[in-house]
C-alpha cells in the first residue's frame, strides 16, 4: 500500500476516524500499532514477523541494559543488539551481494568458485526500521534514552506506519517521548498537514512519476542516446529521485501530524546546496545525521590527524552508499561523495583567506556542486558499472554516438521546475490560505486535489526508496 494509491486514502480515513474517536491513549497506541502492522502486511504479511522479532530483541536488550550494572555486560548486550539488527539486515539485503562479489573476486584470481545464492526477498523498508530500532538500543546504552518497559510504545516506535518503509529515520529519543501524553485534536495543524500532503502528492505522483518513463527509457539503453539526451536523462533522474523521496517524506510527515505525531525533517532544498557538505546537511537529513551520530563520531570523527578524519569520512560514506543498496554502484556512489567531501575540505583549507577563491566560488559553487551530485546520481541509477561508464562518458565528456534523442524542450521543463523550486525556497508561495475561512479552504482543497489528479500519469511507479 502506497501513499498515492486510493486504497491508502480509505485506510488512512479509517485509522484517523477510529484514532480520534478513542479517548484512551493506550487504546489509541494499540490501534495505531495494529494499523501499522496491517499497513506492512499489505505488502507481505510474513515479514511482519521480522519487524516483530527485531522489536522484541531490542525490547529485551533495552531491559537488560537497564538492569546491567557493569560496563562489560552492557557492552555485551549492545553488541548483541547490533549483531542481531545488522545480521538480519545483512542476511536479507547483502547476502547475495557478498556471495556473488566473493565468487567474482575468486574467479578473477583464477580460483574455481561456484556461486550459490538464495532466492531472498528484500523486505520493504528493512533499512529504515532496522535503523529506527538500533537507535533505541544505542541511545539506551549511551544513557540518552531510558529503556522502556512498555512494549507497545517500542513496537509502535519501530513500526509506526508513516515512516516505516521509506523514512524519515526516526530516533527513539525523538519519538518515544511523544507517546507519553495523549494527543488533542485541537492542537493539530490540520491545514498545514493536508497542504503538506498535497505538496508531497504532487511531487511524487505528478512530477516524479511524470518524468520516470523518460528516465527509464534513457537508463535502459544509454548507448542509443545522444549526449544531450544523456543530460536530459540524468537531470530528469535528479528531479525524479528528489521529488519521489521528498514527496514520500512530506506525505509521511503529514500523515503523522494528522495523528498528532511529529517526524523529523528530511530535506532542506538540497539542490541549492553550495558544496557537498552543505548537500548532506540538506539531503536525507535523518540518514546523514544518523550516520554522523552513530558511525562517524564513534569512529573518531574529526578528532586526531587529518588522515584519520578523512579515513572516517570515507568509511562513513562507503557504508552510507552500501546502506542504499547491495550493489557496487551504490558503494562507488558513496565513495564519490566521500571524495567530494574530502576535496571540499582540502579546498577550504588551502584557500582560507584568499579573496579570489571566495569571489570565484560565489559564482561557481552551485554549478560545481549540482554537477558533482548529478555525476554521482549516474552511479546511483545505472544498472551496472559498464552502463554507468557509458553514461559518464556522455554526461561528463559529451562523448557518444547514439542517434535517439529526447526533445530539447525537455530541458525547459528542468529549468521551470528548478525555478518553481527556487521560488519555494524563497517562500514566494504565500501561506495566505491559512487566513481563509475553513469552509472556503476545504472547498478549494477538494477542487485542487481533483485538478491535480489530471496530471497523475496512468502508470504507478513504486517509491524509489522502498527498495532500500
Amino acid at each position: 500500500m502506497s501513499f498515492v494509491e486510493f486504497r491508502f486514502l480509505w485506510f488512512f480515513l479509517l485509522v484517523f476516524i477510529v484514532y480520534w474517536t478513542m479517548r484512551n491513549n493506550t487504546a489509541r497506541k494499540v490501534w495505531l500499532l495494529l494499523c501499522s502492522y496491517f499497513f506492512y502486511a499489505a505488502w507481505n504479511w510474513k515479514f511482519t514477523f521480522l519487524v516483530l522479532g527485531s522489536t522484541t530483541a531490542d525490547y529485551i536488550v533495552g531491559l537488560m541494559l537497564r538492569r546491567s550494572k557493569s560496563p562489560a555486560s552492557q557492552r555485551l548486550w549492545i553488541a548483541i543488539s547490533v549483531c542481531v539488527n545488522l545480521g538480519v539486515l545483512g542476511f536479507f539485503k547483502y547476502f547475495n551481494f557478498f556471495v556473488s562479489s566473493a565468487s567474482g573476486f575468486l574467479t578473477w584470481l583464477g580460483l574455481p568458485a561456484s556461486e550459490s545464492t538464495l532466492n531472498i526477498i528484500l523486505p520493504v523498508g528493512i533499512s529504515f526500521y532496522t535503523f529506527h530500532s538500533m537507535s533505541y538500543t544505542i541511545d539506551v546504552y549511551r544513557g540518552r534514552q531510558a529503556a522502556t518497559s512498555n512494549f507497545v510504545d517500542l513496537a509502535l516506535f519501530v513500526s509506526f506506519f508513516p515512516p516505516l518503509v521509506a523514512g524519515p529515520i526516526v530516533r527513539a529519543v525523538y519519538f518515544l517521548p511523544q507517546l507519553v501524553w495523549p494527543k488533542r485534536f485541537s492542537n493539530i495543524d490540520v491545514r498545514g498537514a493536508v497542504m503538506l500532503f498535497l505538496a508531497g502528492f504532487i511531487k511524487k505522483a505528478c512530477i516524479a512519476d511524470g518524468v520516470a518513463p523518460t528516465v527509464d527509457r534513457y537508463f535502459a539503453h544509454p548507448a542509443d542516446f545522444t549526449p544531450t539526451s544523456a543530460w536530459i536523462g540524468v537531470l530528469f533522474y535528479a528531479i525524479q529521485i528528489y521529488c519521489d523521496f521528498s514527496g514520500y517524506t512530506d506525505m509521511a510527515i503529514a500523515a503523522a501530524r494528522l495523528l498528532g505525531y511529529q517526524l523529523p525533517n528530511n530535506f532542506q532544498f538540497p539542490y541549492f546546496a553550495r558544496n557537498v557538505s552543505d548537500f548532506w546537511r540538506r539531503w536525507h537529513i535523518s540518514l546523514s545525521s544518523w550516520l554522523r551520530d552513530y558511525l562517524y563520531i564513534p569512529l573518531g570523527g574529526n578528532r586526531g590527524s587529518r588522515g584519520f578524519a578523512y579515513r572516517n569520512v570515507m568509511i562513513t560514506m562507503l557504508l552510507g552508499g552500501l546502506w542504499h543498496g547491495a550493489a557496487w554502484t551504490f558503494v562507488i556512489w558513496g565513495a564519490l561523495h566521500g571524495v567530494a567531501l574530502l576535496i571540499h575540505r582540502e579546498w577550504i583549507r588551502l584557500t582560507e583567506g584568499l579573496k579570489w577563491a571566495a569571489r570565484a566560488m560565489r559564482w561557481l559553487a552551485w554549478p560545481i556542486t549540482i554537477y558533482a551530485v548529478c555525476v554521482a546520481w549516474i552511479l546511483f541509477r545505472a544498472h551496472n558499472l559498464s552502463s554507468a561508464g557509458t553514461i559518464l562518458k556522455q554526461f561528463a565528456l559529451f562523448h557518444g554516438g547514439g542517434n535517439q534523442h529526447f526533445h530539447r524542450w525537455l530541458l525547459l521543463v528542468v529549468g521551470a521546475l528548478l525555478f518553481i523550486h527556487w521560488l519555494n525556497s524563497r517562500r514566494w508561495f504565500a501561506e495566505s490560505w491559512r487566513q481563509w475561512p475553513a469552509p472556503v479552504f476545504a472547498a478549494a482543497y477538494g477542487c485542487t486535489f481533483a485538478v491535480v489528479l489530471l496530471f497523475v500519469p496512468p502508470h504507478y511507479t513504486p517509491f524509489i526508496y522502498f527498495q532500500f
Binding site: A442, V451, L454
Partner: protein
C-alpha cells in the same frame, strides 16, 4: 461541560469541512469528467473514434469488436456484395485489436451518443465478458477509459458470482474462496481491487491532462491515422502472412480437438446482460443489433440458441458449415484469417446478412 461542548463543536466543524472538501472534490471530478474530450487511447481507438465522429452520418452499417473484426471484415467487400444483392450499405469497421466486452460495449455507447442519424445495422462481436487483464497492460490508459459503473459493476458481479439480477447479492461460497484465495479464485482479489481502482481513477480523471494537450496540439499524423483506418479509410486493415507448415499442423490438430469437444457452452449471464444493454441502446437510436460470432477455434463451442437477446446472432463458428474459413491455408492462426480468408469471410457475412434481411429476420 464546556470542554465537552467544545469537543462537540470541533467534531462538527471537522465533519462539516471534510464533507465540503469531499463534495468539492467529487463535483470538480464529475464536472471535469463531463467536459474533457474523448481520451487519447492507443491501438487506434482515438483515431477511429475521431474519424467516425467526423463522418458519423455517412455510414449505415457498423462492425465493432476485436481484431477478429478489425482484420477480418472488409467494408468495401461487404458493401459491394450488398450492393450487388440490391441492399446497398455503407459500412465502417470499428474493430480494435484486443477489444472485447466490456470495452466494446463502452465504446459502442460512446458511438451511439454521437447520434449517428443513418446508422441502421450494428454488428457486435459476440464473445464472453473478459475479466482478465495482463499485468503489463493494467497500467495502460486502454485499461482505464471504459471503466464506468455500468461496465465495472458487471465485472464485479461476474468476479463475485453475484448474478445479473438487479439485486446484487454476492455468492457467499465465492466470497469465501476469494478471501481464502482458494483454487479458481486465486487472483480474484487482485482483480476486484484492480477494477474498483480503475473505476475510481476513471471518475477522478487520472492522467487526463494529456488529453487536453492532445486536443489542442493534435499530434496525430496522416500516416498514423492511415495505419489504423486503412487505405480506404473504412477502418479495415489487412495483415500479411500465413502459417508455416508446422503452425498449420498445430492449427489442424487444435481445430480437430475443438470440433471433437462435446456440447456447447453458453455465455455467462453477465455477458448476456451486457449484450442486452447494447441491444437496448442500439434500438433506442432506431438501429438493429446483430451479434456476430467469428470463425475462430476458441469460439467453436459457443452456444447460440436461446440467448434471450433482442437481436439476431450470426454464427460462423461451425467449421462443418463454413469449411472455407477454417482451412489452414486461409488462416494466420487459430483466431485470425489471412487477407484472402478475411475477404472470403466478409463475403459470407454479407451474403448471410442480405439473406436474413430478405427473410425479415433483420429489419
Amino acid at each position: 461541560m464546556p470542554h465537552k461542548a467544545s469537543r462537540r463543536k470541533i467534531l462538527i466543524r471537522a465533519v462539516t469541512n471534510s464533507a465540503i472538501a469531499a463534495t468539492a472534490f467529487l463535483m470538480t471530478s464529475i464536472g471535469l469528467h463531463a467536459v474533457l474530450p474523448f481520451p487519447e487511447i492507443d491501438g487506434g481507438v482515438s483515431q477511429k473514434f475521431r474519424f467516425f465522429a467526423a463522418h458519423k452520418d455517412e455510414f449505415d452499417t457498423l462492425f465493432i469488436g476485436s481484431s477478429r473484426i478489425y482484420f477480418q471484415i472488409s467494408p468495401a467487400i461487404f458493401d459491394r456484395v450488398t450492393r450487388e444483392s440490391g441492399l446497398p450499405t455503407h459500412s465502417f469497421n470499428f474493430g480494435i485489436g484486443g477489444m472485447y466486452l466490456p470495452e466494446s460495449a463502452y465504446l459502442l455507447e460512446q458511438i451511439l451518443n454521437l447520434k449517428p442519424r443513418n446508422l441502421r445495422w450494428i454488428f457486435i462481436e459476440y464473445d464472453e465478458l473478459q475479466t482478465k487483464w495482463s499485468t503489463e497492460n493494467q497500467t495502460s490508459r486502454r485499461a482505464l477509459y471504459w471503466a464506468d459503473w455500468k461496465r465495472v459493476s458487471l465485472l464485479l458481479r461476474k468476479l463475485t458470482d453475484a448474478g445479473a439480477d438487479p439485486l446484487w447479492l454476492p455468492n457467499p461460497k465465492k466470497l469465501r474462496d476469494i478471501v481464502l484465495r482458494q483454487k479458481g479464485a486465486k487472483n480474484t482479489r487482485g482483480l476486484l481491487t484492480f477494477y474498483v481502482t480503475q473505476f475510481e481513477r476513471n471518475y477522478t480523471n487520472v492522467s487526463r491532462a494529456a488529453d487536453v494537450l492532445d486536443y489542442f496540439f493534435r499530434r496525430d499524423t496522416r500516416e498514423r491515422r492511415a495505419s489504423y483506418l486503412g487505405t480506404a479509410s473504412d477502418g479495415y486493415v489487412t495483415r500479411p502472412g500465413g502459417m508455416s507448415p508446422s503452425q498449420a499442423a498445430t492449427y489442424d490438430r487444435g481445430l480437430a480437438a475443438a470440433m471433437a469437444e462435446a456440447g456447447t457452452r453458453p455465455l455467462s449471464p453477465y455477458a448476456v446482460e451486457a449484450y442486452r444493454q447494447c441491444a437496448t441502446e442500439i434500438r433506442s437510436i432506431g438501429a438493429t443489433p446483430i451479434f456476430l460470432i467469428t470463425p475462430s477455434t476458441t469460439q467453436i463451442n459457443i452456444a447460440t440458441e436461446s440467448t434471450g437477446l433482442a437481436g439476431v446472432v450470426m454464427a460462423f463458428n461451425n467449421p462443418r458449415a463454413y469449411p472455407s474459413v477454417y482451412r489452414s491455408s486461409v488462416r494466420r492462426d487459430g483466431q485470425h484469417l489471412t487477407k484472402s480468408g478475411a475477404e472470403e469471410f466478409t463475403r459470407i457475412v454479407a451474403a448471410n446478412f442480405v439473406e436474413l434481411a430478405r427473410t425479415g429476420e433483420i429489419k
